[in-house]
Structure formats: structure tokens, C-alpha cells
């Protein structure tokens, strides 16, 4: 008997083994398990399923103050929605607001102090080092002017008051605010009216006619409720007429009754021409005429400007101008608004037009805004630009709440050459052109108590509390706490300041309080005291100032000192300017407007769907593309005053021929903005993302 | 997929579709199973030799399957389709009858073309001959062409005594060059003696049957002469077209030194051609 195993035996064994395996449950089990495995890949996170709770808060991502309903699982927010009856936002939330709870885990979140070198390299920094650096700067300061500037990105908060008080206690420090959109306008209003007047807000909710010079009414004017007001059509509230005067077809222009494409840079001429048409049509309301003694002077001034040739440059027909003038005169509830980002001359001309049309102190017009009870007067605070050049050793930026951006060039201008440092308190450290050396981690929305003061579509002011809805990160710093640590003083907590504010509201007995639990709007005096108010506001409510009696218009001047010269110069410049081959119009991305950082899911409307023009792309009319020999998706180079930048071409027939439309943001255009501002070229360097007109040449890369 | 398994619906479409599918699967499976079963059965019933020959015969080139009656001059063109089993071939029987009745005669003179053909021997298509001995046994040897090709007896592997041999099944193996070639047995039988060195035959067999049918497929000497000539030419053609350069001036192979004239790399092919191994 041969007992050795032959190859055939082995083969047989293998064959039999395979057959036997097939008959066993093993292969089927493997199949089944592999299928189950593909459904539960270990590297894919599972949602944590826990008790679902609902809470209410106020969105503090921007100053609009929308009411938020928070759905949490296991104590962590999983989705946000608007509060249906909220007086400010009426149940709306913008796309960014819907993602507020994602910001806590943003990839560029800062969780410990960092040092940034060469603009991009980051290393962990020691808190003590940063404090020591600030102290060193402090002790080195000898001159009378402040060496440390504490810059508040969003004044008007309770935190702002803390900052202000701290800065005052600190000999060589000063409080300042970021350059604010519309500040020039406020200053101008004060010049027009001889008596002290408050700030004004447009009463969009009651306006029957809105003439808008590029104002983003449906995508960035307060809360999204403004858009609802403009677009809703009920028998009780017919849709208001909206005339949008804007170079490109923005989202607002798109839904407007009339869109008037205006040559970029000539908006002020257009506004002045309408004003002139109203005056010459002798339709100026007698009340307005009676209040201003210089009506004749205005007529003469406008006549001297010789507007018709300039208007022709606007690309708007005389008939259109007359028609708008007539409508403005005939409609009592009308208002003229300009984009907050519009250049100064546009703001001036629009204000003048409002005065001529008599929209001040009227329902549906420009209504006075009262002061927020208990707020420090930060409106008069100097901006960073107001500090002496090369005087600052340290700039402490409070960016814990998103606010206006400061152009990079300003830092260079204000800091001491070679030794000045910039410390930012911010939740994020995304690459930016701003020369920041240190970032101190701050809390994001939902992690700490703060307050938001907003303006409703009806032009009413409100205060809401943003309550923490998720556990705060222990490694973040409160702005006041950080400054307290630097100065070695103890400060009142945010809550204390907020309580003071609520006490002020209570003592004023003015306005209404919205209670989301009912949901009702009850007058302040119906509450028992500050505690009752506090608890309602804590549960997602908000205070809104009550209906103000329509005040009568005080005496004013159409042409306060300096305005005539300013406008004359601007109109003359418009007349003299030769038309550029192409004009670049940079519009601000509403979703990014007050938000330096995108929530990651914003990719849905940017990278994944093209709903918004991506950064780095410019849109041009197909005929423009053809004329410049570029096509969709081509890489091209944009040359602006010698600065060239790479862009992608997108063809869009809604962009008027001869224009290049781009979104501001952190793409090449922002880069160009910073570069151009170094060369101090025109309005592009302004703090706000103003629609800027730049001669552009375009060629294929 | 299966009734009562999650998600199954008793719709007509489902039933028709799955019915067809399962039918196909079953038919494939059954056919496959059947062939496995059949091959197992034929392995057990010792049909291997028979099947191997059938399979090999099927794969032989047409030139190697020429009918014996061509060599006898009975017919001009005919290829065998009966595995060289003339006993079952109706055409063969018919021609034989015609010849017996004298209606056709061998009109081709028995020319051997230089190969010796013995009148006492019967020839197998696998190039063996067979001679019936008086004691009822037969002796089997290599024919003239084969023995010129296989000159060294030591390369032959002969079967042991008492081994059963089957007609057209391997009888002897030739180990030469890279591949082995087998020589087919002419008839069924049992080995009774193995020839030694110098012996004209290779083995002595006791045939299983001594009836005429057992020898009907073997070539008679008259046919064998033409056949050997034909086979020699076939071998020559095969070697020539293969690019073998060693031929005589007239294009033919030197018959006497056949073994040494076939180059080493063509050896395998030459043996395959001659001994009917495809």
C-alpha cells in the first residue's frame, strides 16, 4: 500500500473541500456579513441617538438677531430652524444661520492660542508670552497717544461696553471700532438736520414704493423676513413696488418690479437727477419745502451740475428718471435706500433724494431709531483709521462676533513699523490677508451668552439674548476675561452687564416683549419686573421697541457744509472719466457678508451646485467673452491697475455686456483687493466690500 | 429570489422570470452533472482506452485518417470516420464483398516503395505489425518505417507480462526527446512474453478473440505497401513544411538513416505523426 500523497490526491482533497464549503453555511454567512459591513462601515460616524430636546435662542452670527429654534440630541444641537412668530425674523433663517451649530466644529476652529508667522505658518503659542508681549508694548509706550488699540468688530453689544470700560481703565489703551458701513451716512444725516436726531432705518415693511440703489433687500438686509415682506402677496398686504438701480442683476434686482441696469459708478448721478426731476416738477412736498430754506439753492446747485450729459452716461433714459421722480412724489409711503456698502457719494445723493422726496419721519419711509436702552454710546467711538499713523504697538481685535472687515493696508499704516503686533480674539483662523500674529480662541455661537441688537423690516430696534445651546469649550476665552487677564483686573461678567441692560428696558417701560413659549407679543409693563423679563429673554424671547408716534420732520438743510463741493467733484469726475474697456463689479456675497468663515456645508451652494459664483470666478456676458476670446471654464487673467490675478471665466447673460462681475470673499479678488489697497487705489481699498469699479483688461491665460 | 424570502412578491412577472432563470440554472447544472456522472461511469467501466482513442482519432489531421482502400487502389478519396474500426464500417464490408465477388481487383501493383512488407504479417495503422503464431498467440513488432525511426530499443518502455492490452490503446512508450510518445496496440489481448534485445518482435500477446472480426481492421500486406509509402511521404511533408532544413537534394528524407536525419527539435512531431498521437 503506497501511503504517499500524490498530486491527484491533493487536487481531489481541494475539490472536495471547496464543494463541502459551498454546502456549509460559511460562504453564505460571509456574503451576508460583508453586506452588513457595507452598511456600517466603521469609518463612517453614526449619529448619536439620545433624548431630543427643543430650546430657543437668538442667532448672533450677524446683527440681524433672528429667533432660532434649536433641536438637540443628547444635549447637542442637531438642527436649527426659525421661530415662527418671531417679530424680527418671522420664522426665517438664512442659509448661514441654518448652519450656525456647525461652526463649533469648523475645521479652522482655534482651540488654543496660536502664533502665525509669515502669514500662514501656525504654531501653538503660550498665553503668558502673548500677555508679556502686550505688557512689553504697554510699558514701552511713551507718547501721549495710545499704544494699544482694542478694536470692537460689532459695537453695541454688552461685550462692547465691557471692552470700552476696560480700555478706559488702561492708561495707554484706547477703544475703537471697526470701520462701519453706513457711518458716513449717519454723520451726514446729522449735518442735514440742525437739531440732534437719532439714526434712521427704512421702514420696508410699510413702504409701498422702494427705490433701491443696489441695496441687497432680499439677501442681506436685516433678516430674511425682509425678503418675505417684499415678496409676500396677500390681499391685506399687496406687494410693494421695488425699483432696483444696480449695475448687475443681483438677487434683489431679479425679483424687483423694475431693474434698471446703471453704469457702475454713476449711481449718485442717477439719484441726483431724480432729485432734480422732483424739484423741477414742483412736486416736492410742501412740508419738506417749508422745513428747508435752501430748496432754491438746491435747485440752483443741481441745475449748475448740468446733469443731463452725466445721466446719459448712467445708461438711463430721461423718461425713466421722470417716471421714478413722479412715483416718488406721488407715493407717500416711499423710501430710497442704498447699499450699505455703496461709496460715500452714493450715500450722500441717496440721502438728498430722500430729503427731496420727503421720506423722513413717515410710515414706510425713513424712521428714527431710538437708542438701545442700557447701551454704551459706541457710535461716536473712533475707528481704527482714526488712530495716528504708526502709533500703535498692539492692536487687539475682538472678532469673537463677526463684523466688518478691516483692510489689510490699514494695519500696516497704524502699527509701529517693525515692532507692532496684532492679536485677534477669534473662534477661527482661516487664512486671511490681514497681518495677525496671535489668535486667542473665542467661543462661537451657541457656546456662550451674548446679546444681539437688530432692526426689524419695519425699522424697529430689538434686543435678543443668544443663549448657550451647547456645552462651551473650556479652552475658549471671553474677550473681557482675556483683557482682564492682561490688565490684571476683575470685570463684571457679561451677564451682569446684560442684567443692567434689561433693567434699563424695564425702567423705560417701552416696547414689547416676544415670548416664544406662548408665542405672544406683550408690552414690557405687563411683566412683573426685570426677573420676569430676564427669564423670557433667556428662553429665546426678544424685546422690540414699541410703535413710535410718527414724528414731524424738524428743520433741515438740503446742502449742509461741504456736501455741494463733494457732490460737484464726484459728478465732474464721472463726466470726465473715460469708459474703461471692461468694468469689474465686485458684489458682496450675502451669505459671507458678515461671516469671515463658511460653514463646511455651505459647499452645497458653492462648490456643489454653483448657486453662488465661486471665489476665483468672474462672470461675464457671453458677448463679452466672445469679444475677449475666452469661453466658459477658461482660465484667464484679470489685470487691474497692474495687478494681475488668475480667474475662471463663467458666462452669464445676466451680467450686462462690458462688465465683469465677481464676488468678494477669500478668492483671488480678495487677494487683488488687498494688493490694490497697498497701492491705495480708489474705493476698492475701503473697509467694506463696496461694489468697486476698476478698469479691467482681460486676456486668456 | 426565493418564495417566502424577504421581499418576494407573487407577481406574474416575477414567477415567469424566476421560472425561466431557475430552469436555465437547472438545465446547466443537470447537463454538467450528467457529464460528470458519465465520465465517472466510463472511468469505472474501463472505457478509458476506447474513449481516448475516439478522442485522439477525432483530433488527427485528415491526412492521417486516410481510408485503407485508397492504398489498395479500391477508391480514390476517402477519409475514415470510424476510428479505423473497419469491422463496423459498412463501406469496408461493401468493398470487401465486391472484391470477393471479383467485381473489383487490386489494380495497383504491390510496390513497397523501399519498405519491406512481409506477407505473413498484418499491419496496424499505428505502425505495428502482427503475426499469428501457431500456438494461438500473436507477436507484435514495429513495421519497417517505425523501426527505422526507432532504432534504439532501449528507449522503449515495454509493458509487463500479464498486462492487459487494448486495441488502439497505448502498448509501448517511447522516451526520446522532450515528450514521450506511445505506440498503439493492434488488438485486445494479454501480454504473455516480452521480446528481448535483438528479437524481431516486441511482445507476444494472447488475443482475446481469434475470430476474423478481431483482425478485420488490420491492413493486409497488399495494402500495407502503399500505406507505408504514403506514410513516409506524409512524414516528409510534415517535416518539410515545418521549416526543417535537413532533407536530401531531391527534397526527400534519406530512408535508411531516417532516425538520424530527423532533427532533434522535430523529433517529437515526427513521432506524433507516425504513431498517430495528435
Amino acid at each position: 500500500m503506497n501511503s504517499s500523497i500524490s498530486r491527484r490526491d491533493l487536487l481531489r482533497f481541494a475539490g472536495g473541500g471547496v464543494l463541502g464549503l459551498l454546502l456549509s453555511p460559511l460562504p453564505w454567512k460571509v456574503l451576508d456579513d460583508s453586506a452588513i459591513w457595507t452598511q456600517n462601515w466603521p469609518w463612517i460616524p453614526e449619529p448619536s441617538r439620545g433624548p431630543i430636546t427643543w430650546s430657543a435662542s437668538t442667532c448672533s452670527l450677524c446683527g440681524a438677531g433672528c429667533g432660532v429654534r434649536v433641536r438637540s440630541s443628547n444635549g447637542h444641537p442637531v438642527s436649527l430652524a426659525g421661530q415662527a412668530g418671531h417679530p424680527m425674523s418671522a420664522g426665517t433663517l438664512c442659509a448661514t444661520g441654518l448652519l450656525a451649530h456647525h461652526l463649533a466644529c469648523h475645521p479652522s476652529r482655534v482651540l488654543q492660542p496660536i502664533r502665525i508667522t509669515n502669514g500662514t505658518e501656525r504654531t501653538a503659542a503660550d498665553m503668558a508670552t502673548i500677555v508679556a508681549a502686550i505688557h512689553a508694548a504697554h510699558s514701552a509706550s511713551t507718547s501721549a497717544s495710545p499704544a494699544i488699540a482694542v478694536i470692537d468688530s460689532r459695537p453695541g453689544r454688552a461685550a462692547s461696553r465691557l471692552l470700552m470700560e476696560l480700555a478706559h481703565q488702561w492708561p495707554s489703551a484706547a477703544y475703537g471700532v471697526a470701520p462701519q458701513a453706513g457711518r458716513a451716512r449717519t454723520d451726514l444725516i446729522r449735518k442735514h438736520f440742525r437739531t440732534a436726531v437719532p439714526e434712521f432705518a427704512a421702514d420696508i415693511q410699510h413702504a409701498r414704493l422702494i427705490v433701491s440703489f443696489g441695496a441687497p433687500l432680499v439677501d442681506g438686509w436685516g433678516t430674511a423676513a425682509t425678503a418675505r415682506t417684499l415678496l409676500a402677496e396677500t390681499s391685506a398686504h399687496p406687494r410693494p413696488r421695488l425699483i432696483q438701480i444696480e449695475p448687475v442683476r443681483s438677487r434683489t434686482a431679479n425679483v424687483a418690479e423694475t431693474w434698471i441696469p446703471v453704469t457702475p459708478g454713476t449711481e449718485h448721478v442717477c439719484a441726483l437727477a431724480i432729485a432734480q426731476a422732483i424739484i423741477e416738477g414742483r412736486r416736492m412736498k410742501s412740508a419738506v419745502r417749508a422745513r428747508a430754506e435752501d430748496a432754491a439753492a438746491l435747485a440752483a446747485f443741481l441745475h449748475d451740475l448740468d446733469l443731463p450729459p452725466a445721466v446719459r452716461r448712467c445708461g438711463i433714459s430721461d423718461a425713466r428718471i421722470l417716471e421714478i421722480a413722479r412715483s416718488l412724489s406721488d407715493e407717500p409711503a416711499s423710501v430710497v435706500v442704498a447699499s450699505p456698502a455703496a461709496p460715500e457719494e452714493v450715500q450722500s445723493a441717496v440721502l438728498l433724494l430722500n430729503l427731496v422726496a420727503g421720506t423722513f419721519f413717515r410710515e414706510g419711509g425713513l424712521r428714527p431709531l431710538p437708542e438701545i436702552p442700557g447701551a454704551a454710546r459706541t457710535t461716536d467711538a473712533r475707528t481704527l483709521e482714526d488712530f495716528d499713523d504708526h502709533s500703535l504697538s498692539v492692536i487687539i481685535l475682538d472678532e469673537s462676533a463677526a463684523g466688518a472687515d478691516i483692510p489689510a493696508a490699514v494695519f500696516g499704516q497704524k502699527l509701529k513699523p517693525g515692532s507692532g503686533i496684532v492679536v485677534s480674539l477669534s473662534p477661527f483662523a482661516a487664512p486671511r490677508p490681514v497681518p495677525i500674529q496671535y489668535v486667542i480662541p473665542a467661543a462661537v455661537w451657541g457656546e456662550r451668552l451674548t446679546d444681539v441688537a437688530g432692526t426689524s423690516p419695519a425699522g424697529e430696534i430689538s434686543v435678543g439674548l443668544a443663549m448657550p445651546v451647547m456645552p462651551a469649550r473650556p479652552d475658549t476665552f471671553d474677550t473681557a476675561a482675556f483683557l482682564g487677564a492682561v490688565t490684571g483686573t476683575s470685570q463684571p461678567s457679561t451677564e451682569e452687564i446684560l442684567r443692567q441692560r434689561i433693567a434699563a428696558i424695564w425702567s423705560g417701560r417701552r416696547g414689547m416683549v416676544y415670548d416664544p413659549s406662548s408665542p405672544t407679543l406683550r408690552p414690557v409693563h405687563a411683566f412683573g419686573g426685570t426677573d420676569a423679563l430676564w427669564s423670557v429673554l433667556q428662553s429665546g424671547g426678544c424685546w422690540i421697541d414699541g410703535p413710535r408716534p410718527a414724528g414731524s420732520m424738524p428743520a433741515f438743510r438740503f446742502l449742509p457744509a461741504g456736501l455741494a463741493e463733494h457732490l460737484t467733484k464726484r459728478v465732474a469726475a464721472t463726466k470726465a472719466a473715460t469708459a474703461p474697456a471692461l468694468a469689474l463689479v465686485i458684489t458682496s456675497d450675502p451669505l459671507r457678508r458678515d461671516q469671515a468663515f463658511d460653514a463646511t456645508l455651505m459647499s452645497k451652494v458653492r462648490d456643489e451646485s454653483g448657486l453662488y459664483l465661486p471665489c476665483g470666478s468672474v462672470a461675464i456676458h457671453p458677448t463679452t467673452a466672445e469679444a475677449h476670446n475666452v469661453g466658459v471654464g477658461d482660465d484667464a487673467t484679470l489685470s487691474i491697475n497692474g495687478t494681475t490675478l488668475p480667474v475662471h471665466i463663467a458666462c452669464d447673460s445676466s451680467v450686462p455686456p462690458g462688465l465683469v462681475s465677481a464676488m468678494d470673499g477669500d478668492g483671488p479678488v480678495a487677494l487683488a483687493q488687498s494688493k490694490i489697497s497697498d497701492r491705495s487705489v480708489g474705493s476698492v481699498a475701503s473697509a467694506t466690500s463696496a461694489p468697486s469699479v476698476i478698469p479691467v483688461t482681460l486676456w486668456k491665460a | 429570489m426565493f418564495p417566502w424570502v424577504y421581499g418576494f412578491t407573487w407577481s406574474t412577472g416575477n414567477l415567469i422570470f424566476l421560472g425561466i432563470f431557475f430552469t436555465v440554472v437547472i438545465v446547466i447544472g443537470l447537463t454538467l452533472g450528467l457529464s460528470v456522472l458519465r465520465s465517472l461511469r466510463s472511468a469505472q467501466s474501463n472505457e478509458i482506452a476506447h474513449i481516448r482513442w475516439k478522442s485522439e482519432f477525432h483530433d488527427l489531421p485528415a491526412a492521417a485518417r486516410t481510408c485503407r482502400h485508397i492504398f489498395a487502389g479500391d477508391t480514390r478519396e476517402r477519409t475514415c470516420a470510424h476510428d479505423f474500426d473497419c469491422g463496423t464500417c459498412t463501406a469496408h464490408r461493401h468493398i470487401e464483398e465486391l472484391r470477393r465477388s471479383g467485381r473489383i481487383v487490386l489494380h495497383r501493383p504491390a510496390g513497397s516503395g523501399g519498405f519491406s512488407v512481409s506477407s505473413e504479417r498484418l499491419y496496424h495503422r499505428g505502425h505495428t505489425w502482427l503475426r499469428r503464431e501457431p500456438d494461438g498467440t500473436v507477436v507484435v513488432g514495429l513495421d519497417d518505417l517505425a523501426s527505422r525511426l526507432v532504432t534504439d530499443r532501449s528507449t522503449l518502455g515495454l509493458p509487463p507480462v500479464h498486462a492487459a492490452v487494448f486495441r488502439n490503446a497505448p502498448l509501448v512508450t517511447i522516451r526520446r526527446a522532450s515528450a514521450g510518445t506511445r505506440i498503439l496496440a493492434p488488438i485486445d489481448g494479454e501480454i504473455v512474453e516480452v521480446g528481448g534485445e535483438g528479437c524481431e518482435w516486441l511482445v507476444r500477446l494472447r488475443p482475446r478473440s481469434l475470430g476474423t472480426d478481431a483482425f478485420a481492421h488490420l491492413l493486409r500486406p497488399a495494402e500495407a505497401a502503399g500505406w507505408l509509402q504514403y506514410e513516409f511521404e506524409r512524414l516528409q511533408r510534415s517535416l518539410a513544411s515545418g521549416g526543417v532544413g535537413v532533407t536530401m537534394a531531391d527534397g526527400g528524407l534519406p530512408m535508411q538513416e531516417l532516425a538520424s536525419a530527423v532533427p532533434v527539435d522535430a523529433w517529437d512531431r515526427a513521432l506524433g505523426e507516425v504513431f498517430l498521437e495528435p
Binding site: 457595507t38 449619529p47 440630541s73 466644529c105 415678496l231 456645508l601 452645497k604 451646485s609 | -
Partner: protein
């Protein structure tokens, strides 16, 4: 569902709300509008008039929830797409999908999306995932299902109150999020519902109605130019006149 195009400003809130509700991951690096995962998408379309009269219309585009002639249901080789007879919603069973993408080829509305990448959330963001909806997975095709998670929750709630599911019991996330209330959701079969009133308006139309797929998402616009530009097909397009 009826979408009033005159009220859509293209703000994208619906797109975001959809992604948050359904645990759709943010874009992987390298994602383009063609490989994105946007169950809900807003497309800007020009109304076809010439400049400067031309207007854009923003068209929120999601699964159109075709009627019984659903192109995607019949093509799926393994019943991973199902038609819910009760609600008329076309549902997707992602765990059964093998990712052959035949349904995507079949869908004329391009409303189906393939998970080209493994879903990736920034660290910590998994805490914000909606617990009522499973996470997405690579290699399967998916689409809008009118917020199946919400429907299931509403069903459970109705069952707990031992009453049948009412059409107003839930609203998809996009409807809830739309700031201008451009999207109306409800029971089209109920003649008294707001949605069926809106659907019967002469301004209402469906996309690619000629194909006979019977979509249950309707669009409306008072502008004839908008209606024309969204219902025209290549037969009457301007391009043809130009290019002959």
C-alpha cells in the same frame, strides 16, 4: 408640492436645510457641481427674454416624485427604489443599492445623486448629525425623499395618537426653511388643501410634462416668459432658429 418661482430669491436656505436634515456630508475636496451631493439644488435659469428685460428665475430642483410611470423605480435591478402607494413618495433604500447608477441615467430631472466619496465630517461634527436619519455612504445613489425621517417621525406620532397620518403632520425641511414661503407642501389628492388649490392654478406647470412621468412637484409663475422658458423643449428653442 408646489413651488412659487416668483417668490424664490435663490438664497439657498432650502439646500442647506436639506443637507442638515438628511446628514448629507459637506463636499469632499475636488467636488464640482457635477459630482456634488445636493438632494436639493437651486438652478438659475434665464427667462429667455433679451437683455436688459431678461430676468433670472431660480428653480429649486429636487426629486420630482414622479407618478406611477416613475423612470427610476422600474429600472432599479434590485428594488432599491420604491414607490409608496400611500403617500406617492418615491423612496430610496440605500442599504440595498449596489451603485449601478442606472436610475441616475433614467432620471430626466438629474435629481439623483451618487455618493462619489466616503462621507467625511470635520471632527466633532458627527455630534450634529440628525439622529432620525442614517448617515450617507459611499457608492450608492440617493435623492430627495421628502424628508423620510420626518415622515417616519410623523407616522410614529400619528400611530401613538392612534389616528391616521394627516397630510399636515409634517413638512419637509426645505419647506420649513424657505424664508419667502415659496414652497407649499401638502396632499395633492385633497381638493381642499392649499397645495391642490395652488396646483390647479393656470400659472402652474410641471417640468418635462410631455414625458408622461407625472411629477408631483409643480412650479408656478405668473410670468408667461418664465413658464415658457421652463416648459419649452428643444423643439421651439431659440438656438434652433439661430443654428438652423
Amino acid at each position: 408640492m408646489v413651488i412659487d418661482l416668483d417668490r424664490c430669491t435663490g438664497c439657498g436656505a432650502c439646500v442647506i436645510a436639506c443637507a442638515v436634515e438628511n446628514n448629507v456630508p459637506p463636499a469632499h475636496e475636488g467636488t464640482t457641481p457635477r459630482t456634488g451631493l445636493t438632494w436639493m439644488r437651486v438652478v438659475r435659469v434665464d427667462d429667455g427674454r433679451s437683455f436688459p428685460d431678461t430676468r433670472s428665475v431660480f428653480v429649486p430642483l429636487m426629486c420630482q416624485q414622479c407618478d406611477h410611470h416613475t423612470p427610476c423605480v422600474s429600472v432599479c435591478p434590485q428594488n432599491a427604489v420604491e414607490y409608496d402607494e400611500e403617500t406617492g413618495i418615491v423612496t430610496q433604500v440605500p442599504v440595498r443599492c449596489l451603485g449601478c447608477r442606472y436610475c441616475m441615467t433614467a432620471c430626466p430631472y438629474h435629481a439623483r445623486y451618487f455618493n462619489w466619496w466616503d462621507p467625511e465630517w470635520p471632527a466633532g461634527m458627527e455630534q450634529t448629525l440628525n439622529p432620525d436619519v442614517s448617515t450617507r455612504m459611499r457608492g450608492v445613489a440617493e435623492k430627495c425623499n421628502f424628508c423620510h425621517g420626518r415622515l417616519q417621525a410623523a407616522r410614529a406620532k400619528a400611530a401613538a395618537g392612534s389616528r391616521p397620518l394627516a397630510p399636515d403632520d409634517y413638512q419637509p425641511a426645505c419647506v420649513e426653511a424657505c424664508p419667502t414661503e415659496a414652497i407649499v407642501f401638502g396632499d395633492l389628492n385633497d381638493p381642499r388643501s392649499t397645495v391642490s388649490a395652488a396646483a390647479s392654478s393656470p400659472d402652474t406647470f410641471r417640468l418635462l410634462e410631455h414625458l408622461g412621468t407625472g411629477p408631483k412637484v409643480r412650479y408656478r409663475s405668473r410670468s408667461a416668459a418664465v413658464r415658457e422658458s421652463l416648459t419649452r423643449n428643444s423643439v421651439s428653442s431659440e438656438k434652433e432658429q439661430v443654428h438652423g
